[in-house]
């Protein structure tokens, strides 16, 4: 400190004037930099991610749909992935397909950042760059595209998607015996060696066990057992705990596959000088993922699942699963170096009475401060990723089943998924189950169906929801025939049911309904009639959409047209009242 004071006092007065002028310029630059960094606290907004974790999938999708359609947005991939994941969990495969395939086009095609954005990223801040995520986020994105294809029984497309997740990784940094290095350690090491990260990176084969398992499963289903074996062998080599699962999949001991996303993924957090470094929290390698237990119709099933196929809390700790972040880290490092170098040069110039050297040093200090001020880490992330993913092969007997999943040390995550039906060895049925962990845990659903559709059991005497009943089945010949068993509805034909829907403005599948632009993205085109929308459809079992529709209570339908009111009036008021849905509690 004393040395610094003596140094400042030794600067000649003529130089001080020039220094003072330069400092004014620097001050202005620093203020500008502060604006970029942002110091004021912001109120916490209700983000789509929060809605997602509160199980408010329709709200989350509404919040994301408009953003995801903006192809010029720097978050176009991120928003589409989140929208696709929310739609997948909610059971809307139409929207899941639209969103995930938009993201897939960018991720698989590789052309993401147009030149103008790249220049801007170099000159200003990486935040302008289109988000493509860290490699583990990219690998998981391909997993969701593969999942969507599996839900549709398109095993060949699932194969294509999941193979994209097994890309070569770039490994940086020395791993100690027990812990992967932090980003700070990696950067310090690179600075000490004066090496560019891209040069220091070693290409390594992926250790994404989830990808190998899914690839093996798809090859098995396509009858390509030799290719499947290569993937299963890789899994066994990577993680002995997954060997029983690989064996069961290879032996085709299933007619049903559960893909279970559990909990909340790691949180990307900025730290270090200027928040230029990032870490995934919780950090550290030794995470203990919960043990999954499966009950079918109340009876525990022994499943060959000793470990999750992927644990993202652990995976995210390894530098090979981070993007190189070269621009940011270089900026931050260069900022520090320039700042240090500038201080030294100013001192040298002053000592040598050289204005040029001193001013060059001050310029360098300014550039360094500017770079430092703008070097905050990009903490955007695919926040809806799970903590871990389990693949559960099951052999389900014919008929509907209640499948309860529970997780060790997490009582709130327990949930019963109703009305699951098994497939066959040739064409197994795949379910994607989104399990939320800890608080708020899983939503509470009634054990017994409150409403019915084609996926549930169908008691006699059902009446359509539109006419005050509890049946949410999509109009069909068989459904109309069931209604006609009720003497009060003996006139109700499929034509009349469809006509009622038409006059009420109700459509039978979610989507833009032939509209383009904002009109096509309107919330009502995607929301169910029980939820303020105009779509009467049946999400598949094993989704939050199916559970919400059939295991919760809904407000009675409010007729829009006088035609529907007239039809409802003609019905027996007593029986209508007795079958009328109770209001939402």
């Amino acid at each position: 400190m004393m040395n610094t004071i003596l140094f400042i006092l030794s600067i000649p007065s003529t130089l001080w004037l020039r220094v003072r002028n330069k400092m004014r310029e620097l001050f202005a630059i620093m203020m500008l930099a502060c604006c970029f960094v942002g110091c004021a606290p912001k109120p916490m907004p209700v983000t789509p991610a929060r809605l997602y974790y509160q199980h408010r999938y329709p709200d989350a999708r509404d919040a994301l749909r408009e953003r995801a359609a903006d192809r010029n947005s720097k978050d176009v991939i991120l928003d589409n992935l989140m929208l696709g994941m929310a739609a997948l969990a909610d059971g809307d495969l139409y929207e899941a397909d639209a969103a995930l395939m938009r993201a897939y086009e960018y991720l698989a095609g590789g052309s993401i950042n147009p030149d103008d954005r790249k220049v801007a990223a170099t000159l200003l801040t990486e935040d302008i760059k289109v988000w493509t995520g860290d490699p583990f986020e990219q690998a998981m994105s391909f997993y969701y595209v593969a999942t969507l294809s599996m839900l549709r029984g398109e095993w060949d497309n699932a194969r294509a998607a999941i193979r994209n997740s097994l890309f070569t990784l770039n490994d940086i940094g020395e791993e100690s015996s027990d812990q992967p290095p932090t980003m700070g350690e990696v950067v310090r090491d690179l600075a000490a060696k004066d090496t560019d990260p891209a040069q220091a990176a070693r290409p390594v084969e992926s250790d994404f066990a989830l990808g190998y398992l899914m690839a093996g499963l798809t090859e098995t289903q396509l009858g390509r057992d030799h290719e499947a074996k290569l993937h299963y062998d890789k899994v066994r080599a990577l993680n002995a705990d997954l060997a029983p699962l690989a064996d069961a999949l290879a032996a085709k001991q299933y007619n049903t596959i559960l893909l279970v996303d559990y909990g909340r993924g790691p949180i990307k957090t900025a730290y270090g000088p200027d928040g230029a470094l990032v870490k995934y929290v919780p950090n550290g390698r030794k995470h203990r993922p919960p043990v999954i237990t499966v009950h079918v119709n109340g009876n525990e099933r022994t499943v060959p699942v000793n470990a999750p196929a992927v644990d993202l809390w652990t995976l995210s700790q390894y530098p090979k699963w981070w993007s190189l972040k070269s621009i940011r880290q270089a900026k931050s490092a260069v900022g520090n170096v320039l700042l240090l170098g500038g201080t030294v040069a100013t001192g040298v110039g002053v000592a040598a009475d050289s204005d040029e050297t001193a001013l060059a040093g001050l310029g360098a200090m300014g550039a360094g401060l500017l770079a430092k001020g703008m070097a905050g880490a990009d903490t955007r992330q695919l926040i809806t990723l799970p903590h871990c993913v389990y693949i559960v092969p099951l052999m389900l007997e014919p008929g509907r089943h209640d499948v309860r999943l529970s997780f060790s040390d997490d009582r709130l995550a327990t949930a019963i998924w109703h009305d699951l039906v098994g497939g066959s060895a040739k064409q197994p049925v795949v379910y994607y189950l989104r399990q939320h962990a800890e608080a708020p845990g899983m939503p509470r659903w009634f054990d017994q169906p409150q409403y019915y559709n084609i996926h549930t059991e169908r008691p006699t005497g059902l009446r359509p929801y539109l006419l005050g009943g509890r049946d949410l089945a999509v109009p069909a010949l068989a459904v109309a025939a069931e209604y006609r068993r009720d003497p009060a509805l003996d006139h109700l034909t499929l034509d009349e049911l469809l006509a009622l829907c038409r006059v009420e403005g109700i459509v039978l599948k979610p989507g833009p309904q032939g509209r383009t632009g904002q009109a096509g993205r309107a919330s009502e085109n995607y929301r169910h009639v029980t939820d303020g929308g105009r779509v009467l459809w049946s999400p598949r079992p094993g989704t939050h959409g199916h559970q919400r529709l059939t295991r919760r209570r809904h407000a009675p339908y409010q007729a829009v047209s006088s035609h529907l009111r007239d039809v409802a009036t003609r019905l027996d008021p007593q029986s209508t009242a007795s079958s009328r849905a109770e209001p939402l509690e």
């Binding site: 395939m101 897939y104 698989a108 095609g109 590789g110 052309s111 993401i112 950042n113 147009p114 030149d115 790249k118 493509t132 595209v145 294809s149 549709r152 398109e154 060949d156 497309n157 194969r159 294509a160 998607a161 193979r163 994209n164 890309f167 891209a198 396509l222 993007s323 190189l324 972040k325 070269s326 010949l477 068989a478």
Partner: protein, 147 residues
């Protein structure tokens, strides 16, 4: 692609040598499989087959005693829609299948995909491949840096 395939199939000795007196053939447009490294929606894959079937039907196949029928899955779906489970499907004697492959060369600056679509006509009683042809197309994508 489908124009060339239809031309090739019609010119094959097995088809070209047939006339109205030949043993009837019932060909199921059976299977489209995507073994490429890209996700291709099935509806798009079936467009190829639908177009190929359309082109073949436009030619004088009836005069060669050849009939096309839907794949088993499509036939089942159609019967379900029409609520007529008694509808009997003509038993196919042959299957027309297509498989999409790709060869991908990938590095950090570019990705190049060569797609090969292989068509087969298979005699179902003997599993003999009566006709096979392929169509190739190449696609290159230049990458910007991701990191």
């Amino acid at each position: 692609m489908t124009d060339r395939m239809a031309e090739s199939l019609l010119a094959s000795p097995e088809i070209a040598s047939r006339d109205g007196e030949a043993v009837p053939w019932i060909i199921s447009v059976d299977r489209v499989m995507n073994l490429s490294s890209d996700v291709v929606p099935h509806r798009e894959l079936w467009v190829f087959m639908g177009r190929l079937r359309g082109l073949l039907n436009q030619s004088d196949l009836a005069g060669r005693n050849i009939t096309f029928v839907l794949s088993p899955e499509q036939a089942a779906a159609l019967n379900q829609r029409n609520s007529d489970p008694t509808n009997q499907r003509a038993t196919p004697t042959h299957a027309l299948a297509a498989t999409f492959h790709s060869l991908t060369l990938d590095d950090r600056s570019a990705r190049s995909d060569t797609y090969v679509c292989v068509f087969n006509l298979i005699e179902l009683t003997t599993d003999r491949v009566l006709w096979e042809d392929r169509y190739e197309v190449k696609r290159t994508v230049m990458r910007d840096e991701w990191d």
